[in-house]
Assembly symmetry: C2
Homo-oligomer: 417 residues x 2
């Protein structure tokens, strides 16, 4: 791709969105594994199969509060023929009762307590009437009743969880239950944000004159986290070619998002720098906003692996949509997650029509009221407040002219609960 | 409630689940506000209305890369009547061009650049042909074209976001755009986990003999975080009444989860301690597992506010279901969130029947395969692996006898994407 001719000339050619998506898929390979503490592993992706080194439990235990006894010696007990058992002691979880329970004896036992020798069943506390040191048994108990057997939860050598698993709260609890301390998970992709623009002030500063606040870093930070990335650095840089070049060359990230300077203006160094340092695979897509989005690869400072670089438009709505359509997907793929959006969706009737130009996908913001979706007209790539008014969004198909009023559409709901 | 009679006797009376839920609602009041940095506020609940102190942008700006000029001087331009404009300089975002643009002059301008005096429109770069220091204009431009006006995104004094708002990535970006640095959000409920049981080892230790690993703290930690709580302490304590009493008396948390020791066994100090120190509102519910769940209030070490205390069964499946049904809800209410479950749900056909005893709600774990839900028979409150095999769960109604095979049910999906 020759870049000399695009500055101040517009995009001569736009890459179809599908092509960009498949390039992202090809280049967003699964990252290597790292070992972390199980207690910190919820939400991570398992990078190994886990076999259990042990039975859980590793002893027969009581599933109830009650009395451990020999089941056979209760046979024949009924309301008409109550049998009396001598309570010889008690055992609570974590203790061992050493003596052997004899027929006619019972051991008071708490839920989780180890079944003593000589006993093979537990009579529930509610079904026994206590008289001094004896209990009255009014019905027979079957062998094994209320006894949790060795390995009833997890069997030794059983495959507990498989590679690729998204670890949920109960999953990491099971991993801990077999005595494991650490686990191998897919490494989190490391992300650097290069926020470019001479007009930008850092978040927290006061806008004044013709200076405006960088809001993209504020917005991208939680999105990167949601998609399993870890933000290593946020750099606010002036539109100076050498400065930008140095930062790109020195990067050790897995992925760089460069916002601003991605279009065809004279200060738009992004595309030409990527081409100079590596390979500019895509520049310009048929999507509105976010048309000046770019994607490329540059050499990493470490070894062979290449750094994925996304050129995101500086306008905040463009930046949001391009992040969500492309960068988030790349991060999720590298981290071993589903490439699909994490957003919930909802089928809703359109209260207004939506026009879209054939050959271009529109990122449409929608407000939902009484199960009807209203198009938010306050358009423009720079109108960030259009996304705060919106409950969700949709992307029109490149082949579509839009939707009629009353048509049902799938709206993707911005994160919220 | 008299407790002397419940030890080793079973629950004489169970509190309906609806009653427990409404007690939770009454006692889980919204917490006070705290001021935090906007960049850290994503996912928090806004505790104030926010009015914008400024216009965004605070100057007229270009919405395109192109040429700023006086629109009227382009009137009459066409392919048959091209007009030439002299390019007098350029302006990029963050710069000010001081001179006044005269009719017949054009200023090269980048997206976001301030419109100079004398100009009221921008001609897109793609529509101008450059010849040395002149551009050829082939069509007229209307006044205001591609000009983003003062306040087009946010108007000074406009209400930006209202109290109670769940802050999304774009919301905090808009807050930053108006030059705010900090924002008041609802304080996060502080939680203490008291894990009781003489048989328990800490996560990461090796199970041996009749000792087992505490898995409840591993599982509850990410759930508490999900529900907006902050885990202040995890304490593993022996079943010693004085020790437990001291920890309850000294607590400074908003909410305590005590796991284990909640039932009617002789080592079950939880219920009687809560009654002794404060008020035991509920002990025993018609839910399986999780029947020994309790809820009460004890005085806090600070001022008037009472600490909510949940007594959760030690068995992990019971602990998970009781947390999810009751504790998570309380945390969400205190933090200003929706009391509803954060889980996604799905209507699925049952591949197997589900039996439920009238008068009791069953926490049923289900595996979903080809859009059909399979009941996971490996029941029992202690079988944690039943929840790792499951994709989701449902709770049967107290009045229901269960569901027939082929019936459609709503399954709540355990967190995953």
């Amino acid at each position: 791709m020759s870049t000399a001719d695009i500055r101040m000339r517009g995009f001569t050619k736009r890459t179809p969105i599908k092509t960009l998506l498949s390039l992202i898929k090809v280049h967003s390979q699964l990252l290597s594994a790292e070992e972390i503490l199980i207690v910190d592993s919820c939400g991570r992706i398992l990078a190994q199969d886990i076999n259990s080194p042990t039975n859980v439990p590793n002893f027969d235990r009581s599933a109830m509060d009650g009395y451990a006894l020999d089941a056979e010696s209760t046979f024949g007990a009924s309301a008409y023929n109550p049998l009396m058992f001598k309570v010889v002691g008690e055992v609570t979880p974590g203790e061992i009762y050493e003596a052997v329970i004899q027929p006619g004896e019972a051991l008071r036992i708490m839920t989780g307590g180890p079944i003593p020798k000589g006993a093979n069943a537990v009579l529930m506390a509610e079904h026994a009437e206590l008289f001094d040191d004896q209990i009255q048994v009014l019905e027979a108990v079957t062998p094994g009743k209320h006894v949790g057997q060795i390995g009833e939860d997890v069997k030794k050598n059983q495959i507990l969880l498989k590679q690729g698993r998204f670890l949920r709260p109960q999953d990491i609890a099971v991993l801990a239950s077999v005595g494991l301390k650490k686990v191998k998970v897919v490494r989190k992709p490391e992300v650097e944000l290069l926020i470019t623009g001479n007009e930008l002030l850092k978040p927290g500063e006061k806008p004044s004159g013709v200076q405006i606040i960088d809001t993209n870093s504020v917005m991208l930070r939680p999105l990167i986290q949601r998609d399993g990335g870890v933000l290593k650095a946020v750099l606010h840089l002036r539109d100076e070619r050498d400065l930008l070049r140095r930062h790109l060359s020195d990067s050790t990230a897995d992925l760089i998002c460069m916002t601003g300077g991605t279009s065809v203006g004279i200060e738009d160094h992004g595309p030409t720098l990527v081409e100079e340092l590596g390979e500019l695979l895509v520049h310009g897509i048929p999507m509105r906003p976010a048309a000046p989005t770019g994607f490329g690869l540059i050499p990493g400072s470490f070894g062979d692996s290449k750094i994925k670089i996304f050129l995101l438009p500086g306008n905040p709505v463009s930046c949001l949509s391009a992040y969500d359509y492309f960068v988030g997907r790349s991060l999720r793929l590298m981290g071993g997650r589903s490439e699909e959006w994490p957003y919930r969706s909802k089928i809703v009737k359109l209260a207004t029509k939506i026009s879209s130009q054939i050959g271009r996908s529109e990122y449409v913001r929608l407000r939902i009221e009484n199960e009807r979706a209203f198009f938010i007209a306050a358009g423009g790539a720079s109108i960030l407040s259009s996304t705060t008014q919106a409950d969700g969004f949709l992307l029109t198909d490149e082949e579509s002219e839009g939707f009629a009023e009353g048509e049902e559409v799938r709206v993707w709901l911005y994160d919220e609960y």
